[in-house]
Amino acid sequence: MTYKPKKVDIIFSPYSVAPYHILKETIKRTKEEVITELIESGLRGRGGAGFPTGFKWKLAAEEKSNTKYIICNADEGEPGTFKDRKLLVEVPRKVISGMAICAWLTGANLGFIYIRREYKYLIPELKKEIEVFKQHAKQINLNFEIQIFIGAGAYVCGEETALIESMEGKRGEPRNKPPYPITKGYLGKPTIVNNVETFASASMVCRYGAKEYKKLGTQDQHGSKLFSISGDSTKEGVHELELGMTLEAFVDEFGDSNTKAVQVGGVSGFCIPRKDFKNAIIGIGNTTGSSTMIFNSSRSMYKVLCNYLEFYAEESCGQCTPCRVGCQQLLNGLKAVKKGEKPAKYLDQLLKLAETMKITSKCGLGQSVTNSFSSIVTNFKEEMIY
C-alpha cells in the first residue's frame, strides 16, 4: 500500500493554542503520564539518528544528579537542510516550550540553544523570545533558564558529543561512547541533546496527545516531519509531510518530472535511483534526516559524489583513522578511476573501504559516508567510470 504525500500543518500552524499554555497544562499532569504519552507517540529524534525521544527523556529523568542540562541542537549543518532555521524564525515558542517540558520531566535547570554561527542574525529575536519565556516560567514556577551558545561552524559539531566538547571550549571532536551524554555530558553531567524539530514535535505531542498524533503516518512511522526540499524541484522549501510515503509519490509531487535520483537524509543519507522509487519509503531503510535533494537527468552523479566526498574530507574532525584517511582515499580513488589511473575494479576496493569505515569509525560522520558513497557508486557505476 502506498501513501501519497499528505501535507500536514501542525508545526508551522500559527499559535492557535499558545505553546506556553500547552506547557502550563502539561506540567499539571504527572511526569509518568507525560513520558508514557511521548513513548506511545512513537516520536523519534529528528536530527537524523532517530533515537526514540520519549525513551531518551525517561532515561535522563532516571539519572540521579542535581545538575542536568538540556541542549537544543541548532547546528543545522547537514547539506540541504534548512528547516531548523525556519522553526526558530517562525515558531520559536514551540521549540522553547518543548525544551521546558523536557526540563520539567528530567529536572534540568539550564538549557542551551546551540546555534551555528551562520544563523547569528536570528539571535536578537531569539533573545527576545527567551525573555518572554522567562515571564511564563516565573508564572508557573518552573526553574529553567535558557542560554544561547554560538558554534564555530564545524559540521562535526552537530554530533552531540562533539557539540558538547566545543561548548566546553575544546576542539569539536566526538567522544568515545559509552558514556553517553545522558549519563555524562556537558561538564560531566547528564545532558539531553535533541534537534530543534524534536522539541517542537514533543510540544505538539503534548498538545494533541499520542493517540491523535499517531493518526498521522503509517503503522511503522508516526507523526509528521519537516522536509527541506532542494535541487531540481518545482517546489523547493520546507514542507511538513506525513511520514510513510513512497519516494514515487514524493517525486510526483515535488520533482520536475525528469528526476533521476533523490538524496534522502542529506549527504549522510542514501541516494535512491529512479528504478527504486516505487518501493522506497522515506524513513525506512534510509535515514530520518530532513534533507531531500532531487537530481534530474542533467546532473552528473560523479560530480555529485565528488562534491560530497570533498565535503567529508574537509569536515571530518580528523581524529580517527578510518574517517580522516578513508574520506581522502575515497575521493582520490574515485578521481583516479575517472581519469583512468586506476582500473574500474578499484571501485570494489573503495566499496570495501567504505564498509570498513562504517564499522570502525568513531562517530556517525565516518560511519555514514558509506551510505551515499555505496548507493551512488553501485547505482551509477558507469557514470563513475566513463
Binding site: A313, E315, S316, G318, Q319, P322, V325, I359, T360
Partner: protein, 595 residues
C-alpha cells in the same frame, strides 16, 4: 570495593573489576590486541581504531581500549571481520605515512612498521597521501626534530605534552584532511614554549619526532688526530644502554660501556657521576648558606631552594614562573659542571690545549642538547660541552663501531674526573639527588651518618608523582647550631605536571618545604627523553632498581668522601661556593615568555 563483571573474550570467561577496558581484560588472559594510539602513561584516545574488536550482537566494531567491559559481553578479538578491518585501517595509516623506512631513525623500533609487517599490509592498495609540504623536517630546535610526513596523528605526543608535562607545546590543529599536529602559530620548534624534555619522542610510535642527532660530528672529531675527544656518561645511561644492545631491561652495562667507548676512540672516558658528587657539595653548601641567612641572620632569602640539574625543568620554570627563578639553585647541572672543568682543570692537569678538547656528554636526555648550547654555558672560554648524545645515539654509535658488545671486557672509567660514589649514581632516579644531598648534609651538620639502614632513604624513592619527607636535626655540630631542632622538610616531584603543583604552592606562599628536587621526566633521568624506547612504568621500575643496585655496589656512598672531589677543592676550587666555584660551576637564569 568495585563491582565485578564477568565476560567472555575469545571463548575464555574472565571476571574483572567494573570500569576495566576490554583491552586490559584481554591482557589479563594473555590475549594481545594490537594498539597504536594507546599508551599506558596516557589517557585513552580511541582514535587509531587498530584495537577494534567484535562484540556479539553488534554490527559495528568497538575500540577495545576505550570500551569498558559489560556483564555477559562476548568479545572476539580476532574474528575475520576484525582482522579484515584492522588490516584495512593499517593500510590507511600506511598510506598517509612517509614509508622511507630504510633511512628512518626509528626503523626496527617503529610500532607502525612492526604492525604493518605483522599484518603484511600491501602498501599499494591505497594512494599515497603524503603531502609535499610535510616532507620538510623542522630541524630548528637543538633537541627535537619534527617530521610531519611520518606523523600518523595518534596524538600521543599531544597527550604527553599536556598530561605528563603540562606544557602543551604540541597541539592538534585544523580538521579533516588538513588535520595535523602543530606548534603554536605553526612556529618552528626553537621559537615555541618547549622544554626540550623529549617525552614526545619517547611516546611517538613512529619517526615523526626524534632527537637531533650529533653522532656524525662526534665521529669526525674522533677521526681528527688534532682533537682530544672526551666523553662523560650520566648515571642513568649505564642502566638503559643495554636495552639498545639486546640486553633485558634493567641490565647494568657500566663496565662494558666504558670499554666500548674507549675502543671506539674516545681519548678519555669519564663519569658524570663525578660532577654529580660535586653538585652535592656545591648545592648542599648553597642550601646551608640560604638556611643560615634565613634562620640566623633573618635575611629575606628564596626558600624553598629547588634543584637545577634537569634542563627541561629549568626551561619550564623560566617560561612558566619567570618571577620565581630565585628559588632555583644557581648550580649548573652535572653535565655543565663537567664541561666547564674539562676545558680548565682537566686540560691544565693533562697539559692539553683546551681549544683542542671536544667534550661530549652521553645523556638520557634531549634537553641536555639545548642546555649545552645555552650562551650562559661558556665559562671555560669555549663552549663547555660540545655535544650531548642521547642513550639511543650512543647505542647506535656502538653498533656502528662494529664492536661485539656482549664479548667486551669490563673496565673502569679513566682518571681524573672518573671517580664517583653511590650518591652520584642515584642522581639517575627520581628522589636520588635528594637522597644524595641528605646523606652528605646530615653528615656535615651532625657529624654522623643519616639514620637510615645502609644509608637508604626509602621515603624519597619510588614512582609517586610527588613525594615528601622530613628529618629532624638534633645534636648539630657547633658551626650548625642554628639548625638545632629544625625539622627539614623536603619534596620531590617528577614530571612537569607535578612540578607545576609544587610551584603553585610556592606562588601561593603555602609551600612548607626547605628543599625540593624536581626532574622534568617521569621517573627522573632513567625515564628521560633520550632513553631507549619504549619507556613504561614497568621499564622505569626496572631501571630504578638497577640504579639502586649500582649504588649499593659502590664502596663509597657519600659524595663528600669522593677522593677526587677532595682533590679538586685542594688543587683548584679551594672552597665550595667560593669564587672559582661561582665562576665555573654556577650559572644564571633568564625570564622567558609564556607564548
Amino acid at each position: 570495593m568495585k563491582k565485578k563483571i564477568t565476560l567472555k573474550i575469545d571463548g575464555h570467561q574472565i571476571t574483572v573489576e567494573e570500569g576495566t577496558s576490554i583491552l586490559e581484560a584481554a591482557k589479563k588472559i594473555n590475549i594481545k590486541i594490537p594498539t597504536i594510539c594507546y599508551h599506558e602513561d596516557l589517557c585513552v584516545a580511541g582514535n587509531c581504531r587498530i584495537c577494534v574488536v567484535e562484540q556479539k550482537g553488534s554490527r559495528a566494531l568497538i575500540p577495545s581500549c576505550a570500551t569498558p567491559v559489560n556483564e555477559n559481553m562476548e568479545i572476539y578479538t580476532s574474528s575475520p571481520k576484525v582482522r579484515k578491518a584492522r588490516k584495512d585501517i593499517m593500510a590507511l595509516l600506511v598510506s598517509e605515512h612517509n614509508t622511507q623506512c630504510t633511512t628512518c631513525y626509528r626503523s626496527t623500533n617503529c610500532e607502525l612498521q612492526t604492525l604493518s609487517a605483522e599484518y603484511n599490509v600491501d602498501n599499494s592498495i591505497y594512494l599515497s597521501l603524503v603531502k609535499e609540504e610535510d616532507c620538510f623536517i623542522d630541524k630548528s630546535s637543538w633537541s627535537v626534530e619534527k617530521d610531519n610526513s611520518k606523523c600518523i596523528r595518534c596524538q600521543r605526543c599531544v597527550r604527553t605534552c599536556a598530561e605528563i608535562q603540562h606544557v602543551n607545546a604540541l597541539a592538534v590543529t585544523r580538521k579533516g584532511k588538513d588535520m595535523k599536529i602543530s606548534t603554536f602559530l605553526d612556529l618552528p620548534m626553537n621559537e615555541i614554549v618547549c622544554t626540550n624534555c623529549g617525552q614526545c619522542i619517547t611516546h611517538c610510535p613512529t619517526g615523526a619526532l626524534t632527537e637531533r642527532r650529533y653522532f656524525d660530528e662526534i665521529w669526525d672529531a674522533i677521526d681528527n688526530p688534532e682533537k682530544h675527544v672526551i666523553i662523560n656518561t650520566a648515571p642513568s645511561v649505564r642502566v638503559a644502554l643495554g636495552e639498545m644492545l639486546g640486553y633485558p631491561v634493567g641490565t647494568r652495562v657500566t663496565g662494558k660501556m666504558v670499554t666500548a667507548l674507549k675502543k671506539m676512540g674516545f681519548d678519555s672516558v669519564l663519569d658524570t657521576d663525578y660532577t654529580a658528587d660535586l653538585t652535592i657539595i656545591e648545592e648542599g653548601t648553597e642550601l646551608l648558606n640560604r638556611l643560615k641567612d634565613y634562620l640566623l641572620y633573618k635575611k629575606n632569602v628564596a626558600l624553598p631552594m629547588i634543584t637545577s640539574c634537569s634542563p627541561g625543568w629549568v626551561k619550564f620554570i623560566e617560561h612558566m614562573y619567570p618571577n620565581h627563578l630565585a628559588h632555583l639553585s644557581t648550580c649548573k647541572s652535572p653535565q655543565q659542571m663537567f664541561g666547564a672543568l674539562a676545558k680548565t682543570y682537566y686540560a691544565n692537569k693533562k697539559g692539553i690545549d683546551p681549544s683542542k678538547i671536544v667534550s661530549v656528554a652521553g645523556m638520557p636526555c634531549a634537553a641536555k642538547k639545548f642546555e649545552a648550547n645555552r650562551p650562559e654555558m661558556r665559562s671555560s672560554g669555549y663552549q663547555d660541552v660540545d655535544a650531548g648524545l642521547t642513550t639511543r645515539e650512543l647505542g647506535y654509535m656502538i653498533k656502528q663501531s662494529g664492536l661485539n658488545f656482549n664479548e667486551l671486557e669490563e673496565s673502569n672509567f679513566d682518571s681524573i674526573m672518573g671517580e664517583s660514589t653511590g650518591a652520584g649514581v642515584i642522581f639517575g632516579a627520581t628522589g636520588g639527588v635528594m637522597e644524595a644531598a641528605l646523606r652528605t648534609a646530615y653528615f656535615l651538620i651532625t657529624g654522623k651518618p643519616i639514620p637510615f639502614e645502609h644509608l637508604n632513604i626509602v621515603p624519597v624513592r619510588g614512582l609517586d608523582g610527588i613525594k615528601t619527607a622530613s628529618i629532624k636535626l638534633e645534636k648539630c655540630l657547633p658551626e650548625y647550631s642554628f639548625l638545632e631542632g629544625i625539622e627539614v622538610k623536603v619534596a620531590i616531584a617528577h614530571g612537569l605536571t607535578n612540578a607545576r603543583t609544587i610551584m603553585d604552592q610556592i606562588v601561593a606562599g603555602t609551600s612548607p618545604y626547605h628543599f625540593i628536587e624536581i626532574m622534568a621526566c617521569p621517573g627522573g633521568c632513567i625515564g628521560g627523553g633520550g632513553q631507549p624506547i619504549p619507556t613504561t612504568k614497568e621499564v622505569r621500575l626496572k631501571r630504578i632498581k638497577a640504579i639502586y643496585d649500582e649504588d649499593m655496589g659502590k664502596p663509597i656512598r657519600m659524595s663528600h668522601e669522593n677522593p677526587e672531589i677532595k682533590q679538586i677543592y685542594k688543587e683548584f676550587l679551594t672552597t665550595p661556593n667560593g669564587e672559582k666555584s661561582h665562576h665555573y660551576l654556577h650559572t644564571t637564569y633568564r625570564k622567558r615568555n609564556r607564548y
